[in-house]
């Protein structure tokens, strides 16, 4: 694994847009061109060279060092390779990724992995609102891939999500899985209030819910084969870092009956 390292030379006042910094793109152009890529969001048109010290050799990895929450769209549209973030990430890290891997060693801002369709995102810290959600113009939120958050996730995780898996070792905020049309959100420490509002299809898994919307029907306690498949899938994906397998029996709440009602909230304790 080799690659370029972008070390932030000073904390920016303005937000930066790093969507052009993918391993493939920066490896495909001369370093001089890389330094000229626009990352600014004001008319001063900041370039990579203005804010980053770049070192290393182009390869299939890039590393952002000293990253802050003003650095937006890190790893956006990634389709191969790895982006490592030493520090925090701003809005929309991993947005619309199709493959590859984004590894954030700090916290992530809002809209982590919005409209992601493939690849993997790992966050050491916590993530902001709308993990795997959508921004205007997206048909859906997350439509594939895997997002793993070691800390907590903010509100509206999986907004309009359609496929893929979000795994949160910590707590998941309120309104998880809002307007969701498919996919899985799995939290180890429980959901905030009102998960699954307008949940059409899809699965929310966790030990507890602060408040359940009234349009979820208690379907009782069940041993669901699909959870074994999910556990096995996580095992394959994460190896030693995989969550411990889900319990045999979960309590299923079917909903949201306010819409087509084919989704479920599964409580594991």
């Amino acid at each position: 694994m080799s690659g370029l390292t972008f070390r932030l030379t000073s904390a920016p006042v303005e937000r930066l847009d790093l969507s052009q910094l993918t391993p493939k793109h920066v490896a495909s152009i001369p370093l001089a061109e890389v330094l000229k890529l626009n990352v600014g969001t004001t008319k001063s048109a900041l370039k990579v060279g203005d804010v980053f010290a770049v070192s290393g050799k182009p390869g299939d990895v890039i590393t952002i060092e000293g990253s802050t929450d003003k650095l937006d769209f890190i790893g956006a549209h990634l389709d191969e390779g790895t982006v490592i973030v030493e520090g925090d990430a701003g809005v929309g890290a991993g947005r619309a990724m199709r493959g590859g891997r984004v590894d954030i060693r700090g916290d992530a801002g809002a809209l982590l992995g919005s409209a992601i369709s493939g690849g993997e995102i790992f966050v050491k810290g916590s993530a902001g609102a709308q993990v795997g959600g959508l921004t205007p113009g997206d048909k859906f939120g997350m439509t594939g891939g895997l997002i793993v958050i070691d800390g907590h996730a903010g509100d509206r995780a999986g907004d309009r999500m359609r496929r893929g898996t979000i795994y949160i070792r910590g707590k998941c905020g309120s309104y998880a899985g809002s307007r969701m049309v498919g996919g899985t959100i799995w939290t180890e420490l429980g959901f905030g209030a009102d998960p699954g509002m307008l949940l059409r299809r899809g699965t929310l898994i966790g030990p507890s819910v602060e408040r359940l919307p009234p349009t979820f029907a208690d379907s009782g306690r069940h041993d669901l084969v699909v959870l074994r498949i999910l556990s096995r899938y996580m095992q394959q994906k994460l190896g030693a870092r995989a969550p411990k397998p889900l319990p045999g029996i979960v309590r299923k709440y079917a909903g949201d009956l306010a819409t087509v009602g084919k989704g479920e909230i599964l409580l594991t304790s």
Binding site: V13, T42, P136, M197, P214, T215, D218, A258, G261, L267
Partner: protein, 457 residues
């Protein structure tokens, strides 16, 4: 500014459009004597707006009185130096919006309206799934069921009931001649719904943050789904509310014979009755005012309503009606949309319009120290004063506008529909109205001031 060219001559203006709320009532009669206005048929908000004594106001630069030209020059100097000017407030008419867009485009700034949080409660739904909507005249004449959700419309739109709900006549014989008005939400004043066509008024006084639950239940019943009954014997039902009861281990599946229960304090029977009325309505309308939907994640409430509307249109006709739209918000959103393709929260920093409802939210930007100058236009009401900020500020404001801090440059401007003519877009985003010049003052329009600043760049 109080001395008026006319002296004390009295003028009466008919069919005056009121700029003070999104309804843009255009049937006001306003009498002007000098610079004093009197409204004979306005709601309290309109009356207060028109009749507010206009305090003397001079252009100011760093708290010193200057001429308009000097203020414009000072503003232009600030804007010229800015790396990222923020154009906020945007409380003005279409001409003013056009002027803001023009200068923001040229100076690579960001545009956002002071009340766009409310608008985004709607936009997040439109930009996810779209909707079926109606407009004021349509509802006034056609609706036989009006459900007002979580919005004390009385306070926001003083004449909504008189103009939309209560009128005696309908265009159509036998259509919408009798109507049911349902208030969904705690503390909503139902007294406004009166008159010969108002057949029935129902109130479901649910706390605002629990309105989504009741809407969910209505939606489920409209679809013919049973609402899961909490276990009758669950000891916690009364204590922690029905929505928790389902969590009690050992509770039974919902059955048709389930005992009566309630959701967020509303008896199930009432919810069922509302759902039945929805299904039987010939033309039902769900009405909300986005600014009033202050529950968390309020766009979900809007989305829930549009789901109900969509479902009902399978068999009957139903639509949404969104009110709000005060302080020229619809004018700002519409103008920005037709000129850039995006509904506000647009940045021209890179020369082209870039849209990001999170990053280009000016409120957020100011809080997080982004942007290096704020141009704030507040030419209508006095309530949307400048937000607290450390960056230099240029305010184009109606005299008397409340300001949290003294702006770097203050330029008093006229109010569209009072001090100058103009056009504004109504809350339903379909109808726009002409704003009359009532010649109250010689104050320049925000459009003219902005154009002058742009010319001086």
């Amino acid at each position: 500014m109080t001395a008026h060219a006319d002296g004390d001559a009295t003028h009466t203006y008919e069919n005056v459009t009121c700029p003070f709320c999104g309804l843009l009532c255009d049937d006001l009669t306003v009498t002007r004597t000098g610079s004093t206005l009197k409204v004979s048929n306005g709601c309290p908000r309109a009356t207060a707006g028109f009749q507010r004594p206009l305090p003397p106001a001079k252009p100011m630069v760093r708290d010193a009185e200057v001429t308009l030209e000097e203020a414009i020059k000072a503003a232009a100097d600030l804007v010229r130096q800015a790396k990222l000017p923020l154009y906020g407030g945007m409380a003005t008419d279409v001409a003013g919006q056009r002027a803001i867009m023009a200068i923001a485009d040229q100076t690579c700034g960001v545009v956002d309206h002071a009340l766009s949080d409310g608008q985004y409660r709607n936009l997040r739904v439109v930009q996810t799934s779209g909707w079926i909507m109606s407009t004021l005249t349509e509802v006034r004449n056609r609706a036989d069921l009006i459900i007002i959700v979580g919005s004390d419309i009385h306070k926001l739109h003083g004449r909504f009931f008189d103009r939309i709900v209560n009128p005696e006549h309908t265009m159509f014989d036998g259509v919408g001649t009798k109507r049911t008005v349902i208030f969904l939400g705690e503390g909503l004043d139902t007294s406004g719904a009166v008159g010969p066509r108002v057949d029935e008024v129902i109130s479901l006084p649910v706390a605002k943050d629990r309105i989504p639950e009741v809407l969910s239940a209505i939606s489920a019943r409209v679809r013919g789904f049973n609402i899961p009954a909490p276990q009758a014997t669950a000891p916690s039902t009364s204590k922690i509310g029905s929505m928790f009861a389902g969590l009690v281990p050992g509770s039974k599946l919902a059955t048709a014979e389930a005992p009566a229960h309630e959701i967020a304090g509303i008896p199930f029977a009432d919810i069922d009755a509302v759902a039945e009325k929805c299904k039987k309505a010939h033309y039902g309308v769900l009405v909300w005012a986005p600014p009033a939907l202050s529950m968390p994640q309020a766009d979900m409430t809007v989305h829930m309503m549009t789901e109900i509307v969509r479902e009902l249109n399978q068999t009957t006709r139903f639509a949404g009606l969104s009110l709000g739209g005060n302080e020229g918000a619809p004018s700002a959103a519409s103008t920005c949309t037709w000129q850039t393709g995006y509904p506000l929260r647009v940045s021209f920093a890179n020369g082209k319009p870039e849209y990001d409802s999170v990053r280009y939210n000016i409120g957020r930007m100011l809080t997080e120290g982004e942007g290096d100058i704020l141009v704030w236009v507040a030419s209508i009401g006095t309530d949307i004063g400048l937000p607290q900020t450390k960056v230099p500020t240029i305010v184009l404001g109606t005299p008397g506008v409340r300001l949290a801090q003294s702006p770097t440059v203050f330029i008093p401007v006229g109010t569209p529909g009072i001090d100058h003519a103009g056009q504004m877009v109504r809350c339903d985003n379909v109808v726009s109205l002409p704003m009359k010049n009532l010649h109250r003052s010689q104050l320049p329009s925000s459009a003219d001031v902005l154009a002058a600043i742009q010319a001086a760049l």
